[in-house]
Amino acid sequence: MAPDVKSAGGAADTAAPLLAGLPDRGAPGRLLRWDLLVGLLLVLVFIGGSVGSPGFASVDNLSFALGDLGEIALIALAMTMLVVAAEVDLSVASVLGLSSALVGTLWDAGWAIETIIPLVVVVGAVCGLVNGLLVTRLGLPSLAVTIGTLALYRGLAYVVLGDRAIAEFPQQYASLAVEDVPGTPIPYPVALFVLLAIITGVVLHATGFGRSLFAIGAQEEAALFAGIRVKRIKLILFVLSSTVAAFAGVVFTLRYGSARADNGMGLELAVIAAVLLGGVDFDGGKGTLGGVIAGVLLIGLLRNLLMLNDVSTEIQSIVTGLLLIISVITPRLVAVIGQRRRRPSPVPSPTPPAS
């Protein structure tokens, strides 16, 4: 995991002026950046787990825990870009379910898996296109649109597969979803995630496209006047998010070896939780991919650690929930304190670059 975190973190610095949620970037502000705190917390959990829980730091356990995060992590990459641009896609888990249902039905009907996978991904892209067009052409809020398509796509999944469960997928493909890259303890989906994370990190933090996302999120009208093609970019983001979700549906189906219409129910909340925990502002314009990756890992490893220590499911939910609330409150508190300290500071408006 190290390389992508590093690259994303490094790239974050180039975007630092745009992350100006904190009024002034003095030394304390820099240290109190939430994404760094999450990274620190992650390291603490890891060290605490390795010392306190035998079995936690074992290669098998970590490999499994990472593999278990695969789909959430993949979708979180696309979700980060959406949230940075002040949009959200709640339909991702339903797209995942629809994709899983399609894989099951087509496989059961005797289609070749090599045909099914690209087809399902295309269907995902179409789902995203619907979301994106509704948001950008009709100007509807993405929260409302994707709550609607959350129900719609899940409903379609049940139409496609009904109440059935399809199993027995081809061994060589199922192995791709669970096995490790030869010679490493890294499952294939995680390796894919690392690759995509690096690409996303570079795009988000080191390209004009990425900077325009921050600009849109910070102040959409200003971004528009600065010549950023806001609607087009948003459309691309929605298509991307659903495409990734559909692909994650394929991974999910193969990993569990069971295609069902209810697969991944509620997964969208886990994804959004990770994105928020990673310090991305729900109002858009702020956040780093490194923070999100740390957020995904923190939620996953913490859950694994709590489970290893026989902490009940209810307490696990409470811990995750509290962490999430803290993640939303802390940066605001820091901002308020910062503002009080330098009373007459005018709130600097983020300067969206023209692209």
Binding site: W107, W111, I113, E114, L129, D163, G257, S258, L308, S312
Partner: protein
Amino acid sequence: MFTVSRRSASTAVMAGLLSLGLVACGGGTTKDSASSAAPAAPASSAPAKADPNAPIKEGLKLAFLPKQINNPYETIVDKAGIEAAAEFKGQAKEVGPSDASASSQVSYINTLTQQGHDAILIAANDANAVCGPLQQARAKGVKIISYDSDASKDCRDIFINQANSEEIGRSQVKLLSEMIGGKGEVAILSATANATNQNTWIEFMKDELGKPEYAGLKLVKVAYGDDDDQKSFQETQGLLQAYPDLKGIISPTTVGISAAARYISGSKYKGEVVLTGLGTPNQMRQFVKDGTVAKFALWNPKDLGYLASYAAAALASGQITGAEGEVLKAGRLGERTIGKDGEIILGPPFVFDKANIDQFDF
């Protein structure tokens, strides 16, 4: 801008078509070609010989992984199993997910394996979704016992079947037929659509209904309440509204039957529609006493947990390996012979009615 989106959409469609075309020419991996390939190798459970006289090891660590925690029925089973473990000086615990979805048990299987348990006892939410991790656990020497709801038979050592599935399915139809006089429309209110045990019973119910003596009964619908109280309640309501001539409902799940009884007892259908199925005495007592339900059946869930616990201990101690014909010594329950595919049957279902229900407290 509009042209751009149209262009990208058509690109996507083209890409899809192209890949379809490519595969159509090349021939890919289909269901047929894959199933002709070698099936997944069975777990590396060494063909160790069973030693029926081996003592049960002390300090065995067992873990019960129910479909979901806080399900009253599973809690009874697991508690009895945990108590049984104390009899042979083992330790047992219950952990599990809060929702009964296919994937939620998987991470628990992994953590239980990491914690070094000798055996995992699982009531599988989805026979296949848990298979991979169970295989990995077995590769590390963990014994797998499924109870209540079976996992795929390649992924576990033994399945403790609460009652012969065939007997349960057929006896429910018989029970209902007696109560409604062998005539009229009937419906089934099941758990989730993929619940292994319910589906097996329903198959036998359908088969039984096909017999000439039940020609007067017509199965109009199998509804799914997902083992969720509220959903089962609503499904019952829906059934009675959709089929005004409905005479009887069979609900082969404890959550379903109590939710259905609650709806019927408070509706105009009370006394009109006969409800039976599988329920626990404590949940059904009120409805048996107020006349909503005359008879329902179940096995003794405490015995199920007890038997599962002993099976786990015997497996982990090498007394049995799960092969057909071996004999399991199960404490106060006596002996059980392992049947085909590693199945052990608890016993015949037991019918509860107004006369005997007060003798049971679970």
